[in-house]
Symmetry: C2
Subunit: 218 residues, 2 copies
């Protein structure tokens, strides 16, 4: 087991798949499956068995030749590799519809992630309660809130033009991981991981598919 990976050495695609594998293993555990081979795992969840083995091999040797993997043991290994063995606290910046909805979206709240602040710059929004029982606070309090509440992840749900300044403010406050929903290309400060989810791009990809399909409704 060779832990102590430099973050750059592992492909983002591999990391995303580890998260998928973890989900599959959780389901298998619920079903009472104790042991599984990479081949069977691949077949059940339509993955590729060689890829599973290769992805896991970056982090150690978790399988038993001739047998496969112990479901609960591999699950625990993935929890550790993904850093899910402790709570990660989240601040949401931008108390619009999306920000408010994410507050208590399953997966955000629950299972190791906890939203501990929702911020906005608009005075008419500050002080309003969120569905989860927090109050919207002034974004200017970011520098105090992040260290006080041990926040590690920032979520940007502001309009596009605010995304870069908010990203910089989050980094300045000590945040090193950001999930950005604003439709803007943002320049990640040094050592900060930014993952952008661009709904507009996704819709336009679907539109492309519709426009270039062989056949349309008939």
């Amino acid at each position: 087991m060779k832990r102590g990976i430099e973050p750059g050495s592992i492909s983002e695609l591999t990391v995303a798949r580890l998260s998928i594998y973890l989900r599959c293993l959780e389901e298998l555990e619920r079903l009472g499956v104790e042991t599984i081979s990479s081949h069977e795992l691949a077949e059940r969840f339509n993955l590729n068995s060689a890829q599973i083995r290769k992805d896991l091999a970056y982090f150690g040797e978790f399988g038993i030749r001739g047998v496969g993997y112990q479901v609960s043991e591999l699950r625990q290994q993935l929890v550790e590799i993904l850093g899910l063995d402790r709570e990660r606290r989240i601040v949401i910046v931008g108390a619009g519809n999306l920000g408010m909805a994410l507050c208590h979206h399953s997966g955000f709240a629950g299972e190791g992630f906890l939203v501990v602040a929702v911020l906005d710059s608009n005075p008419s929004k500050i002080g309003k309660p969120t569905p989860a029982g927090l109050l919207v606070e002034n974004v200017e309090r970011l520098p105090e809130i992040v260290p006080q509440r041990n926040v590690e992840i920032g979520v940007i749900t502001t309009p596009a033009e605010a995304a870069q300044p908010v990203c910089d403010a989050l980094a300045e406050a000590g945040i090193r991981a950001i999930l950005n929903f604003a439709p803007a290309r943002i320049q990640p400060p040094d050592g900060v991981k930014v993952r952008t989810v661009d709904l507009k791009v996704h819709l336009e990809e679907l539109s492309f598919h519709l426009a270039h399909q062989p056949q349309r409704r008939g």
Copy 2:
């Protein structure tokens, strides 16, 4: 100009970038820029100039050698390529927080996309008004609603276990493009494009980054 692309021949990554280029060109147009070279475009928005030229070359020759691209002309070309020259109607399945928030999220409502129905299976939700003024309808009405209202895009915001049946029902009703927010691997029916946005995977990727960073808060 060689239009009539088979959808499979163009990489998804290229299509996603076309959407980004379009956004950049819209900004340039607002700024009054009339002509731009691939190199300048790349520098302003941190893109790669060779990649821009290659992506565009799949669809035609839009530039002038020695000069660059006409901003408004190229923008219009991208609008056509992406199929954004006409309205695309959306049905949202799953009237939870996320579904409701997306109803009137900018980019969803506005600019060529229009949410025309929000559906749920839970009787306590059916009949409730959405923020945009629609009423939540019974998901069983999907087969009539899709053709009647000319819906082309389905958005899944249900819990994971409902994702695959809803996907199949959407396909059955004639939908050929689906944006899935449920944390589930879904098997796209033939000819249907499914794009999954998995927030949990994204959070876990960020957690991985936090766990394997060289330094932590100090």
